[in-house]
Symmetry: C2
Subunit: 470 residues, 2 copies
Amino acid sequence: MKDSVLNHALDQQPRLIETLKTLVACPSVGADPAMAEGMEDARNLLETRLAEMGFQNRQRLTPPDGSGQPALYGERLEAPGKPTILIYAHYDVQPADPLEKWETPPFEAVERDGRLYGRGISDDKAPMLIALESLAAFIAVDGKLPVNVKLLIEGEEETGSPSLPAILETHRDLLQADAVLSADGARWRPDLVALNVGSRGNTGFEVRVQTAAQDLHSGRYGGIVANPLHVLSSLIASLHDADGHIAAEGFYDGVVAPTEAERAEIDAIPFDEGATFSAIGAKPSGEAGYSSLERLWMRPTVDVNGMWGGYIGAGSKTVIPNEAFAKLTMRLVPGQDPQSAKEAVINHLRANLPATATLEISGERGQGGAYAVPAGHPLLAAAVAALEHTSGETPLKVRIGASLPLTEIVSRLLGLDTVMFSFALSDENFHAPNEFFRLSSIPDGLASWVQILREIAKTSPAQYSAYRRA
Amino acid sequence: MKDSVLNHALDQQPRLIETLKTLVACPSVGADPAMAEGMEDARNLLETRLAEMGFQNRQRLTPPDGSGQPALYGERLEAPGKPTILIYAHYDVQPADPLEKWETPPFEAVERDGRLYGRGISDDKAPMLIALESLAAFIAVDGKLPVNVKLLIEGEEETGSPSLPAILETHRDLLQADAVLSADGARWRPDLVALNVGSRGNTGFEVRVQTAAQDLHSGRYGGIVANPLHVLSSLIASLHDADGHIAAEGFYDGVVAPTEAERAEIDAIPFDEGATFSAIGAKPSGEAGYSSLERLWMRPTVDVNGMWGGYIGAGSKTVIPNEAFAKLTMRLVPGQDPQSAKEAVINHLRANLPATATLEISGERGQGGAYAVPAGHPLLAAAVAALEHTSGETPLKVRIGASLPLTEIVSRLLGLDTVMFSFALSDENFHAPNEFFRLSSIPDGLASWVQILREIAKTSPAQYSAYRRA
């Protein structure tokens, strides 16, 4: 069967790679003010390409005060009766430090062994260009897109998307769509055809326990005053029971237990537990009654990320410190309200605090809920169908234990669901030296994007309305 | 009643203060190599004074290799049939840092409001000179001392007496005596006539808990690996039960419970618990069934002096660290063997370690047992009688919660008991800026030292032999 659109897309791969090399050569490190020119170069390159592709209403989106790195916007709304899809990507990249660990210069895309190396190439310049060039193929061959497309290309993803909520709120009408398809994210493993259908939320705080006005000498006060490190240790120890359940009352409020079907689905996923744990020199641990993947994807956590107090230099000092500190974060699952979950843990600490100590909570963190694509969502069905078409396999539905702020922000502010459809792979060193992208992912990605656009074209806006929350 | 010796001693106070000022002007900070000259000046000054006083066999004592700061030795053995007392003091002082917190220069003795300020003046240059000048008064008036005296003036007390054990072992014959009388130490409180009859021992170690080969991201591993800060917190929490007893099996081995008489004695000591705790902004805490003074003096402790792991900088980092650390020390009471007590705690940690973590013990510390002067010891009786004579009150028998390595080292290596007979007061800022010594303590101290030498002269060497252990 001749597929003119896909053939065109595949034929254009040399051009895609050329564009990708030019884009990698723009050092678009948003965190580094010295690289403002690289950010602007990346924006100009993308805006030029969007203009070439006939995208209209092109503009830079910012919060009302114009602050932050602008997001790029463009639209082609030329498929009456078809769904409108907001395609998300980002043009900013992580800093390249530590530079000395790069085998080739980070802002020069270099090919080795079927891979292209460069900062931001996998996260997410190549996946973004795959999405854009699949659109370009429809435009070149058919003269138009099969669905209505709005593009939102963010410039602050790697710095925590501080302006994104304000951009979504300010440009709510402009950004209205039926669903969001993200060219950012990552496929789980090279050996699996999989779709990510959920991520955990997160929240956190910092705690300070104080037992005296000053540090005390253990000879003069040892045994007659409370030691804040003992108090804090007891509080931390009390957060989990012997089975690894979190003991804070109310913490699990709203958590929906995984269904038997979901558990069976997870259980069916090939997962080499031995290899996973031996790679990190650790042993499986966690909540009783759940497998490792269930723990990671379906169960919330409380973790101390840092803890300190007293004398931590060389040698010994017989001090009873007067204060002790810990930084805690939580990973949350669907159904949990981040604020309530955080307060449950704080209330537990307060309830277990002995009368000899005081407790101070600080360190407000950004927080967000977990996210899961509804099982029946038409965009998810389109993604499944696209991957079945290109791979011949039914993709496994996987989740991630980390948080994807985009999905939660878009859900909360636009009421839309998001499907992650990146062709990065999770081992491609993003956020680390020697980031790379597999050249073989380019034809895979183009074929899948061409197909998902066709699958979406088979759906109607009405199918999405049941899922839209705003 | 005319007391020529005491009168002579009191008449010589201006000279004592002059000598004290000269001695304070020698910056004898043993820890600071740049102050070697100050150490030598202090030694020379004391040696000159000992020569003037007719002390014989004067020499500098070191370990066989000549390392470390020498201790000064001298003897007057001219009281046949009388006990031989080893009088201990030290000529080194703490560093003066932080210099900016001193109101007057630390190495210049300045008088203000009935106090002399200067580094080392209370710890223990003034108490040492009080002891020496009381001896000088006997020599000046009677031509001889009432008991046999050996002087040992150490130069490494403030740096932990690293050479003292080797000095005692090397010069064991030279230093043989019936008991040790220390001009170092401190009276507990200005408002109480008291003798210190016991101190706690100490030991310690450092612990490292490891759960993985590297730090892990809480999104990728949260919930499936053990968090070493949780493991360490649980271990620390497990060290004490709900009543504040130490839960490590065997830790209390050998501990002799305080007798009813001892408890009554302690209970009779005026102790303003409210004032003590409000001064440090803390609340009473500790082992159930004991008063604060019993906890401090008669009960052993385990304290975490420092604990750390993970991210402890500003903000948040969603890391699961792979290791966590704690520094622990113990305070020990009579009957406890330091090594066994330490091993009991280490064994407890190992026994409670989950299979997901490994434990490493390091940080060998100097350690020593608790010390208590035997209740019937003749030197203790002499001290009681001397204080009754000078104050008209029976001194209270108090202990300290801290450790006095001298007493334990002398007991272990020379088999001798030590009575602390310093006229420093514990509020005189030793080891801190603006160290001072009350001028009023000089006549008190001289009278008490003159009297204790007379009281010792009433005893016979045979009375001591039952207590000598080597």
